[in-house]
């Protein structure tokens, strides 16, 4: 057999006259390891193609597997029913119900074709969820791009958002949250990470395994075409080169309509107990779906190539075996259930075929029409026994300074030094590309379909009720790349802290963590060190907060000729509210309520939005994180919420305390806005207190009669607490409400007299100005028409 059509005329990293394995991205060392697993025999071309996709970074986790073993994965005591290794993590939530959730990247496909790349990313993660027997009930999209003023970025943003929306809207799963972040490090390599959450009855839990020799292997869903050939190996495992524009592998096109039918048919098959195992086909196509399910069950499979339904004539065996055509599933079906399975698929208008048989020999065997063997590979060699590389990690010799693009390096308290009006700084931050309202984006996503959305995108963590119960799920995604670029351990730990805090401030109990590790080329020691540190930060934070990591995804080689991305450990958290009626909102509720800061403000502006805007001192570092304090803070806020002491709660994150206060004000009273009259004590510098992003802080509001109880509760948790002032009524004279923050304390005036005289001693700004900045910031940054 020869490979007549190249797996992708483009995708081979090497030169055309190189041996086939290298052209498929398989190293000489890996080829030797493949021979080992074939009992010393050389693979034929089809087998080599199958190994090349399965031993790609994307499918095999060959660089990251040893690291991932260090993560805390929880136990039945945490409610964990399925952990890493399954299509999605599953956690029981009582009432016989469970949630399945996971986050996954589609970075490289989205860089090539943003709309289809993002769309198929949504499709892929949804399949992971319903393959487990869960109905997808929510999607969150975490997106990262380069400079929003850049034409290429704008094209990517437009396309990715269209892709996420176009797919999610059509399949009828609400997109309830996410992130949109701009940073120059993503210019050549955008990040598209999508998280999905599903709800299932525990009885319906279905695993991706292929038990029972003699069972049918059934393929249903779309037909198999040439699209996405070699996508896994090529797209996810190779650094983007300059010349990629001309050498593009085939693009996968998503069909959300077919996915919707696939969801309904799959869930119907599962509920009727018609399948013994179910696996979606994603990266690695049929090769991956069959070898993984067989390996998990300790069985083998014999696949009859000729009966696989195709979209095009003349496809080569390797094309059929590694095609990444979307919207396909493999089911393992007992022969007596086949007719029922076929009936369900046909009712939903989906092509369905028996493509093979489960065997007991442990091999994945591919045969042609005449029964001649085209390939025979131990299933384990393609999956659990795939090669693992011990990569070299090395910290950079010199610590990096925080990236502050185009900003002048000035003292970290540059704000008072330069006599800047803190109100103007706040307005600039709120109107900035990263902190302004994401409304222009999330309004393109159906966030309400299924009639469960209690809080959609835009106001902190998303809240989705569980119909028929008083419960609700609370979800957030976060990643701190800016600190991660300076200290990858800290960046990862901060990401976990923020994502869990976002969930906890609603009063919910975080249940578990999923993560998408977006890093650079693991063969580069510094990049591998970043990954190592990131995993350590993730593990440390999850242990400290007592949370299991139930799944995730690793995306490496996120580099372009302009450099590697900032390390980006995207963290997805799902929490549970036992009674949705007790949820706490971030918005201020009523005039007269007290505004209270819980937690300690610590120095360090590196990695903050303020530093990006105003510059920072060369010696300044990022703020520190005390995971034990974070744990106490989250325990405090949950208890305060449970006891009904809170009118509102919002955490301090991007843009610092001032931005948090502005959000509470703008969203106050059903988005009509509520002002406040506050005093903030400044310890070292106004910039740190107003705009610093030191973690583990929450702004709450409460009716005056609950303040004493809150103070006591904070003391009991060993947390500092400061009453900042009160929420004010809207002026009756029709003038706009204002946010007024007076600064006092030693740092407010500074030590030198002349310095003190130039310090603005108050932040006073009207909500109309703030709202204008906040609402229009993103459209202005992207050059979108405002409406």
């Amino acid at each position: 057999m020869t490979l007549t059509a190249e797996p992708s005329d483009a995708a081979e990293p090497g030169l055309p006259d190189e041996p086939l394995h290298r052209r498929l991205g398989v190293t000489d060392e890996e080829l030797a390891a493949i021979r080992d697993r074939l009992g010393g025999r050389a693979p034929n071309d089809l087998e080599l193609a199958m190994f090349s996709v399965m031993w790609s970074e994307h499918c095999s986790y060959k660089s990251s597997r040893p690291l991932l073993r260090t993560l805390p994965t929880g136990s039945a005591a945490d409610g964990v029913v399925a952990g890493p290794g399954e299509n999605a993590g599953v956690i029981a939530i009582g009432d016989g119900l469970a949630i399945a959730f996971k986050i996954e990247s589609h970075n490289h496909p989205s860089a090539v074709e943003p709309t289809q790349g993002a769309a198929t990313g949504v499709g892929g993660i949804l399949r992971d969820i319903f393959t487990m027997g869960a109905r997808p009930i929510a999607v969150l999209d975490a997106l990262r791009f380069g400079d929003p003023a850049d034409a290429r970025t704008r094209h990517l943003v437009e396309g990715v958002v269209r892709g996420v929306g176009g797919y999610g809207n059509c399949v009828g799963v609400p997109t309830v949250g996410g992130e949109l972040v701009f940073d120059p490090s993503y210019a050549g390599n955008p990040l598209v990470n999508v998280m999905a959450i599903g709800l299932l009855e525990l009885d319906d839990l279905t695993l991706a395994s292929a038990p029972g020799a003699g069972n049918h292997v059934v393929l249903f869903g779309s037909t198999t075409g040439r699209d996405g050939i070699g996508g896994a190996s090529v797209l996810a495992s190779a650094t983007f080169g300059v010349e990629d524009g001309s050498k593009r592998p085939s693009v996968q096109v998503g069909d959300p309509f077919a996915e919707k039918l696939l969801i309904e048919a799959s869930l119907e098959l599962i509920r009727a107990g018609l399948v013994a195992g179910l696996q979606d086909l994603g990266a690695g196509g049929i090769t991956c779906g069959t070898s993984e399910t067989a390996d998990r069950a300790g069985t083998g499979m014999r696949i009859e190539l000729a009966v696989i339904p195709r979209r095009e004539p003349g496809m080569d065996p390797f094309e059929v075996m590694i095609s990444e055509s979307q919207e396909r599933m493999v089911a393992v079906v007992e022969p007596e259930r086949w007719n029922a399975v076929r009936a369900v698929c046909e009712r939903w208008g989906l092509p369905v075929a028996i493509i093979g048989t489960v065997t007991d020999d442990g091999d994945l065997t591919v045969v042609d029409e005449d029964g001649a063997e085209l390939a025979r590979i131990p299933a384990s060699a393609l999956t659990s026994d795939a090669i693992v590389h011990e990569r070299v990690a090395a910290a950079p010799l010199r610590r990096r300074a925080a990236p502050a693009p185009g900003a002048p390096a000035t003292a970290s308290d540059g704000l008072p030094e330069r006599g800047m009006d803190p109100g103007a700084v706040l307005t600039a931050l709120l109107g900035s590309a990263n902190l302004s309202s994401r409304r222009p984006v999330f309004e393109q996503y159906d966030s309400t379909v299924q009639a469960n959305t209690v809080v959609g995108p835009g106001h902190g963590a998303a809240i989705v009720r569980i119909k028929g119960t008083t419960k609700a799920l609370v979800a957030s995604t976060d990643a701190n790349h800016a600190v991660g670029a300076i200290d990858p351990w800290l960046g990862a730990a901060l990401s976990v802290a923020e994502a869990t805090r976002n969930v906890a401030i609603t009063g919910a109990r975080p249940l578990g963590v999923t993560n998408c590790l977006n890093y650079g080329d693991p063969t580069r020691p510094e990049a591998f060190w970043q990954l190592t540190e990131g995993v350590r930060g993730l593990a440390d934070a999850c242990r400290a907060l007592g949370l299991p990591v139930t799944g995730g995804n690793v995306s490496l080689y996120n580099e372009s000729p302009t450099g590697a991305i900032a390390p980006t450990p995207e963290i997805g958290v799902v929490g549970l509210l036992d009674d949705v009626a007790t949820r706490v909102d971030p918005a201020w509720q009523a005039p007269g309520d007290r505004v209270i800061l819980v937690g300690e403000t610590t120095p360090g502006l590196a990695g903050s939005a303020y530093a990006e805007l105003a510059g920072l001192a060369a010696e300044d570092g990022p703020p520190s994180l005390d995971l034990e304090r974070e744990r106490r803070l989250q325990a405090f806020i949950r208890e305060a919420a449970a006891r009904g002491l809170l009118a509102s709660a919002q955490d301090v994150s991007g843009g610092g305390l001032a931005v948090t206060l502005a959000e509470c004000a703008l969203w106050g009273d059903g988005d009509r806005g509520l002002g406040a009259r506050l005093r903030v004590s400044v310890a070292s510098s106004a910039a740190v207190d107003l705009f610093g992003e030191s973690p583990s802080r929450i702004v709450v509001s409460a009716t005056p009669r609950h303040v004493a109880a809150l103070v006591l509760l904070a003391r009991q948790h060993g947390l500092p607490i400061e009453d900042l002032g009160e929420v004010t009524a809207r002026p009756d004279d029709g003038t706009q409400a204002r946010l007024a923050v007076e600064l006092h304390g030693s740092g407010a005036t500074g030590s030198a007299e002349d310095r003190g005289s130039r310090i603005a001693d108050a932040l006073i700004v009207g909500l109309d100005e703030l709202r204008h900045a906040w609402e229009g910031g993103l459209s202005r940054a992207l050059g979108w028409e405002q409406r």
Partner: protein, 107 residues
Amino acid sequence: MATRFAVNVRPKDGILDPQGRAVEGSLGHLGIEGVSAVRVGRRVELTVEAADEPAARAVVERLASELLSNPLIEAYDVEVLGAASSLESSSAGAAPPAAESASGTPA
């Protein structure tokens, strides 16, 4: 000189065409038989004011490859629909009959 063109954009060979597939799937309900290989694309008609036809065609080609089609997943061809006074063409409803047609695939 004003010329009216049409740019026909269609999914490339081998690229999934969900719309075409959906139309085929609905033919049964319409009681229509014998229809196959349905491909759904876009057709953009436009008037170009340029010195001569080659100059006008160059403009259309650029538009077609950079804006109107996505070369990764779509192919296009350009048709000349005929001379058009820009005024006339701006209200052109039914297209004038195709005068000439040529195929092109983006580089």
